[in-house]
């Protein structure tokens, strides 16, 4: 009897530990980022860092303005969302409501495969195919642009958007649909007047998680967006994102100088933005569940 109690005690504590482990890790990561990143603000002001237009980190004195990268990340993300969200939601509706069961299974497994392709592979394929395509279609000097990155990232966000939206659509109570049809609504009317309202919080959450995926993506972006440090004025220009900046320069940054700290500060910016994206997604997911 005593042994059993002791066993339960240990198991309970173990589960508790694993439960809070991820929380502890997140907190530790944030503390580490803060500790390393905040030092950069000893040499330049927050405004100068976030709003500075020039990035020459290894010059003396260095220019450490990350505005071009914030705008670059924004441009790539917005472009990807404009492409991926409508496409993803339409696909989710097709799979959940319209496709015959056999086709549905095939589609779902294909989408899962899409999610499993490593981003560096997608980036490589994009570089070989998409970049020359974008260049010739728009007649621009180079195809390494924010827009190419957007298309590529839209593909990466699609599996997330589709599978979560599809779940949201499936969880709309059956009575809603039956009620609508009983009142004489056509299938299409039921879809876009009734079901979409029931599934909306889930769909918004799916889109936000898609945004998070796009925003944090690094490898593929670094390969095909061109990485220019100028302030972008349009989608058809080379841009560099926040993530690509860290990935490209962390290897070289000498520990303890302002360049190194600036890269960590970019990490803080990324962390905060991702946190807000996920937080918003969670809010909508929770609202969907309460209904």
């Amino acid at each position: 009897m005593k042994l059993r109690k002791a066993k339960e005690f240990v198991i309970e504590k173990l589960i508790f530990l694993s439960g809070i482990a991820s929380v502890v890790f997140v907190v530790l990561i944030f503390v580490f980022l803060l500790r390393e990143g905040v030092s950069v603000f000893k040499s330049i002001g927050v405004g100068e860092f976030l709003g500075g237009k020039h990035w020459y980190p290894v010059s003396t004195p260095p220019s450490l303005g990350i505005l071009p990268f914030i705008l670059g990340s924004l441009a790539v993300t917005i472009g990807a969302i404009v492409i991926a969200v409508p496409l993803g939601i339409a696909t989710a509706f097709y799979i959940a409501e319209i496709a015959p069961p056999r086709l549905r299974d095939v589609l779902k497994s294909l989408i899962e495969i899409l999610a499993a392709i490593p981003s560096v592979v997608l980036g490589f394929i994009g570089w070989m195919t998409l970049v020359p395509f974008v260049k010739s279609v728009f007649g621009i000097p180079t195809g390494l642009t924010a827009f190419s990155g957007s298309i590529m990232l839209a593909f990466m966000a699609l599996p997330t958007i589709i599978s979560i939206s599809e779940d949201a659509i499936k969880f709309v109570p059956r009575e809603y649909k039956e009620g609508a049809i009983a009142l004489g609504a056509t299938h299409w009317q039921t879809l876009h007047r009734v079901i979409i309202h029931g599934a909306l919080p889930g769909i918004i959450a799916a889109s936000m998680l898609g945004v998070g995926r796009v925003f944090g993506e690094t490898m593929a972006v670094m390969m095909i967006t061109g990485n220019a440090t100028a302030i972008p004025t349009g989608l058809l220009q080379p841009v560099r994102t926040l993530t690509a900046t860290i990935a490209a320069e962390m290897g070289e940054a000498v520990r303890g100088n302002s360049h190194y700290f600036a890269l960590f500060a970019i990490g803080i910016v990324l962390f905060v933005i991702s946190f807000f994206i996920n937080f918003t997604a969670d809010l909508f997911l929770a609202r969907g569940r309460r209904k």
């Binding site: 020039h54 990035w55 020459y56 980190p57 290894v58 010059s59 003396t60 071009p68 570089w127 020359p132 260049k135 000097p141 180079t142 195809g143 390494l144 670094m222 390969m223 061109g226 990485n227 220019a228 440090t229 100028a230 302030i231 080379p238 560099r240 490209a248 320069e249 290897g251 070289e252 940054a253 000498v254 520990r255 303890g256 100088n257």
Partner: protein, 249 residues
């Protein structure tokens, strides 16, 4: 440059089966940083260590020892269909700083110039900046145009130049291939335009040539010394030639 080191390591391994040489790329800055933090035995660099790095090494108790093992010419390349084939150092400077933006101004077609550069950590990037943009004055303030595309590798530059008629880029001699056209460079408007051939680089007549170094912590000893000796040996210098760099011995 990482190609050369990889070839040395591979051939060294044929003599010493029991020794495994691990080679990692990433640029001269990466290598020197690793040496300073004690993460590697040998750092390959296409530039001499700067004062800042020397100070950091001193603070960590590392005594950098420099070995001059090969030479490299930085090649400026354009798409094979680009009619421009000769440029002066002054023109290169104007192009890469973003002051000349159309090929027409250089005797080419009426097309925008797409500048390809390497990342900030690349020894090639730093060498090109100091040598071409800053005309040899390391303390100069000239920078690459912010519109230049920072490519992750020389291979990426080679690929983009081969596929984009508007592009101009630079890389080490080892990457020369018929898919890009090599530009002949003149020191100034009165000098002859020279191609980066082995003779021109070794005699430093070609204006953009550079030394390649290996750095060790203190005088090389034991297996590190064996490796350095191999690099200087006839076989080692033959490998330099095979990978399209220029031998020093």
């Amino acid at each position: 440059m990482v190609n050369l080191m990889a070839a040395w390591a591979e051939n060294f391994n044929k003599h010493r089966r029991d020794v495994n040489v691990a080679v990692t790329g990433g640029g001269s800055g990466t290598g020197l940083t690793a040496l300073i933090s004690g993460a590697c035995d040998i750092a390959q660099s296409s530039r001499a260590m700067d004062e800042k790095e020397l100070k950091q090494a001193q603070a960590k108790g590392i005594k950098p020892n420099e070995e001059f093992v090969a030479m490299d010419g930085i090649v400026v390349v354009v798409h094979p269909k680009n009619p421009v084939k000769n440029l002066t150092m002054g023109q290169l400077r104007q192009i890469f700083m973003g002051n000349v933006r159309n090929w027409k101004a250089l005797g080419g077609k009426n097309k925008p110039i797409v500048i390809l550069s390497r990342e900030f950590n690349s020894g090639t990037h730093i060498f090109f900046k100091e040598h071409v943009l800053r005309r040899g004055n390391a303390k100069g303030r000239e920078e690459f145009s912010a519109r230049s595309l920072l490519m992750p590798s020389s291979q990426a530059i080679a690929y983009e130049v081969a596929h984009n008629e508007n592009a101009i880029g630079y890389y080490g001699m080892g990457y020369i291939s018929p898919r890009q056209k090599v530009i002949a460079v003149a020191k100034d408007s009165t000098s002859p335009h020279l191609e980066p051939t082995v003779e021109n680089v070794r005699s430093t007549a070609y204006p953009i040539s550079r030394p390649l170094y290996l750095y060790t912590n203190g005088e090389p000893q034991g297996i590190v010394k064996e490796f350095i000796d191999f690099v200087y040996s006839k076989e080692g210098q033959e490998i330099v030639k095979e990978t399209d760099f220029v031998p020093v011995k």
